[in-house]
C-alpha cells in the first residue's frame, strides 16, 4: 500500500491574475517503509507535493493514492481524519504550532483529537517525548519558554504521539545547530528502521540525504525529474552536477581521487574505508 501520485497537478489561485501552477502532471510512487528524500530548488513544488499526502491540499487534476485511500480531483475526500492520523505531517518550523500551557498537554493535543481518552493520550505523549529526547522534567513546563531546538522536539513529538504510519517532514532540521540536527536525523533513522515508519523528508542538505536516506526524488519546475536510490544518485557527481547540486563531501573527495588515478570502489560509503583504500594504494605504489 504505497503512496502514489497519478497525473497530479496543483494550481494556486486559478482564474485570477495570481494563478500559479505549482505541480504539473506528476507521476510518482513512494515505497512503503523507505526513507525518501525530496530535494529540489525553492519553488520546485516540494512543499505543495507533500501537502497532498495528508490531503491538506487537494489535487486540481489527477489522483493521489495514500495507502487504501483515494483522493481524486474534483471530489470531496472522505475519511480525512483517519488519513491525517496515519500520515503525520511536520511543517517547516513546527515550533510555531505550539499553544498549550504545558509541553505534555501540547503533545497530547494531537492524539486526543483522534478520539482517545485523556489518560491514553498522555501516555502516548510521554512516550513520544522520551523518544524525542525530552526527559520528564520538561512535561510540566510551558512550551513557549523552551529553546528553539527543544521547541522543535516538542512539536515533532506532537506528531509522533499520533502514532502515524507515514511521517512527512518538511525541512525538519532547518535552523538547528549541527549537533541538534544530527541527533534529530538519528531519531528519524530509528523511527524508520526500528519502528517501521515510512518517511518522506524535504531537505536541502545533501549530506543528510547521503547518510540517512534510501531513495531520492528530485523536483524541478513542479515535476519529479529524477527518482532513484541514494546509492545510484551519488554514484559519481555527474547527476548532481546536472541538477546543479553540490554533492556530499565524500563524493567530491572520491571524484578527486579518481581523477588522480586512484581506483575507488563505487560502494564506499564512509570516510574510514575510503582512507584505508587510499592508503593501501599509496603504499602499493610506494
Amino acid at each position: 500500500m504505497p503512496i502514489k501520485f497519478e497525473h497530479v497537478s496543483h494550481i494556486y489561485s486559478d482564474g485570477t491574475p495570481f494563478r500559479y501552477v505549482a505541480l504539473q502532471d506528476t507521476n510518482l510512487e513512494f515505497r512503503e517503509g523507505a526513507f525518501t528524500a525530496l530535494i529540489g530548488q525553492t519553488g520546485s513544488g516540494k512543499s505543495t507535493l507533500v501537502q497532498h499526502i495528508n490531503a491538506l491540499l487537494l489535487p486540481s487534476e489527477g489522483t493521489v493514492y495514500v495507502m487504501d485511500r483515494e483522493i481524486k480531483a474534483g471530489s470531496e475526500p472522505k475519511g480525512l481524519k483517519s488519513l491525517r492520523k496515519d500520515v503525520g505531517l511536520v511543517f517547516q518550523f513546527p515550533e510555531y504550532q505550539l499553544f498549550e500551557e504545558t509541553v505534555l498537554k501540547d503533545v497530547a493535543f494531537g492524539p486526543k483529537n483522534f478520539g482517545i481518552s485523556q489518560a491514553e493520550a498522555e501516555e502516548k505523549a510521554k512516550a513520544a517525548l522520551r523518544l524525542c529526547g525530552l526527559s520528564q522534567e520538561y512535561d510540566e513546563r510551558s512550551p513557549l519558554e523552551l529553546s528553539g531546538g527543544q521547541k522543535r522536539r516538542v512539536a515533532i513529538a506532537g506528531i509522533l504521539a499520533m502514532d502515524p504510519k507515514v511521517l512527512v517532514l518538511d525541512e525538519p532540521t532547518a535552523g538547528l545547530d549541527p549537533q541538534g540536527a544530527l541527533s534529530m536525523m538519528k531519531l528519524f533513522r530509528d523511527l524508520n528502521q526500528k519502528h517501521g515508519k515510512t518517511i518522506i523528508m524535504v531537505t536541502h542538505d545533501m549530506e543528510q540525504v547521503f547518510s540517512f536516506c534510501d531513495e531520492v526524488v528530485v523536483m524541478e519546475d513542479g515535476r519529479p525529474k529524477i527518482q532513484t536510490t541514494v546509492q545510484e544518485f551519488f554514484r559519481d557527481s555527474s547527476l548532481c552536477e546536472e541538477m546543479n547540486i553540490l554533492p556530499p563531501a565524500l563524493i567530491r573527495l572520491k571524484d578527486a581521487l579518481k581523477k588522480n588515478g586512484f581506483e575507488i570502489d563505487e560502494d564506499v560509503k564512509d570516510i574510514r574505508t575510503l582512507a584505508k583504500l587510499t592508503a593501501k594504494q599509496v603504499k602499493h605504489h610506494g
Binding site: 494556486y12 489561485s13 485570477t16 491574475p17 495570481f18 501537502q51 495528508n54 491538506l56 481524519k81 491525517r84 492520523k85 503525520g88 505531517l89 511543517f91 513546527p94 510555531y96 504550532q97 505550539l98 499553544f99 493535543f109 494531537g110 483529537n113 483522534f114 513557549l144 506532537g158 506528531i159 499520533m162
Partner: protein, 266 residues
C-alpha cells in the same frame, strides 16, 4: 482567504497604474463628493461613464469589479425591505398581503444602491491600481499641510504602511497554522462547542505569539538602522505630478462642477 477582492492591489501595466497616488486619491475624493449631490439620473450616468472609462483604461477585468460589488447585494435586499416598510409616497405599484409597495420606495432604494455601487467602483479602482506603499506615500503628502495643527502625518503613514505590510504575512501565517493544526487532527468546521473553542484557541495562541515576535523583530531592525520618529528624512521614491495626473484631477473637478450645476443651477 484568497477570495477577498475588496481593497486588493492587482499588478497590471496600465496608464492608470502609473498615475501619481496623490492625484488618484484627490480625484477619488472629488468624485465621492460629486456622488452625493442630488444630480439625478443624468448625473449618475455621467459619473458612471467617467468611472467606466477609468476602469477600462486600467485594464481591470469586469469580473473583478463585479466580485468586489457582490457583497453589496445583501445590502440592497436589506435597504429594499426597510424602504418598502417605511416609504408610502408615490404611486402604489402592487401589494403583497397587507403590504403595499410604492414607486417611491423602489426609486429611493435604487438611488442609494446606485450611489453605493459607484462608490465601490471608484474605491476599488483606486486600491486595485495603487500599490499600498504608494498609497501611504500619497496619503503622507496629502496630510502634510495638517502638520501645522499637530497631525503627525509621517507617523500615520508609517503606521498604515507597516499594518498593510503585515496583512499578507499574517494571512500566510494563519493559513500555515491552520494547516499545521489540521495535521494534528483539528477540525475547524465541525465538532462540539468545547472542541471548537479548543480548535480556535490552537490557532489564536500561535498567531499572537508569532505576531508579537514579528513586531519585536521589526522594531529592533528599525532601531538598529537608526529610525527615529519625527526626524526629517529623504525618500527613496519621490512623487512627481505629471500632465496626466493634472488631467485626472481636472477631469474629476469638472465632474464635480457638473454635478453641482445639475443639482442647483439648472
Amino acid at each position: 482567504m484568497g477570495n477577498i477582492t475588496l481593497g486588493r492591489y492587482i499588478p497590471l501595466d496600465s496608464p492608470i497604474h502609473k498615475l501619481d497616488p496623490r492625484a488618484k486619491i484627490g480625484a477619488m475624493l472629488l468624485i465621492l463628493i460629486a456622488i452625493f449631490f442630488p444630480a439625478g439620473w443624468i448625473g449618475y450616468a455621467i459619473i458612471f461613464a467617467a468611472v467606466s472609462y477609468i476602469i477600462i483604461r486600467s485594464r481591470l477585468s469586469i469580473s473583478f469589479i463585479w466580485k468586489s460589488m457582490r457583497p453589496m447585494l445583501i445590502m440592497l435586499v436589506f435597504l429594499l425591505i426597510i424602504n418598502v416598510l417605511v416609504i408610502h409616497t408615490g404611486v402604489p405599484l402592487f401589494s403583497i398581503g397587507p403590504l403595499t409597495v410604492y414607486s417611491e420606495a423602489i426609486l429611493q432604494t435604487l438611488y442609494i444602491v446606485v450611489r453605493l455601487l459607484l462608490m465601490i467602483m471608484i474605491t476599488t479602482c483606486l486600491t486595485a491600481t495603487t500599490k499600498p506603499l504608494d498609497m501611504t506615500l500619497g496619503l503622507e503628502d496629502l496630510l502634510k499641510p495638517f502638520e501645522k495643527i499637530g497631525v503627525p502625518s509621517h507617523e500615520i503613514a508609517m503606521l498604515i504602511s507597516i499594518a498593510l505590510r503585515f496583512i499578507p504575512d499574517l494571512i500566510d501565517e494563519t493559513n500555515r497554522i491552520i494547516k499545521a493544526q489540521e495535521s494534528r487532527g483539528v477540525d475547524l468546521k465541525e465538532g462540539k462547542l468545547m472542541e471548537r473553542i479548543m480548535a480556535i484557541l490552537s490557532l489564536i495562541v500561535p498567531l499572537f505569539v508569532s505576531a508579537f515576535q514579528r513586531a519585536e523583530d521589526l522594531a529592533n531592525a528599525m532601531e538598529a538602522r537608526g529610525y527615529q520618529p519625527g526626524e526629517k528624512r529623504t525618500r527613496y521614491k519621490v512623487l512627481k505630478m505629471k500632465g496626466a495626473d493634472w488631467a485626472l484631477l481636472l477631469g474629476a473637478a469638472l465632474v464635480l462642477a457638473g454635478m453641482v450645476w445639475l443639482a442647483y443651477f439648472r
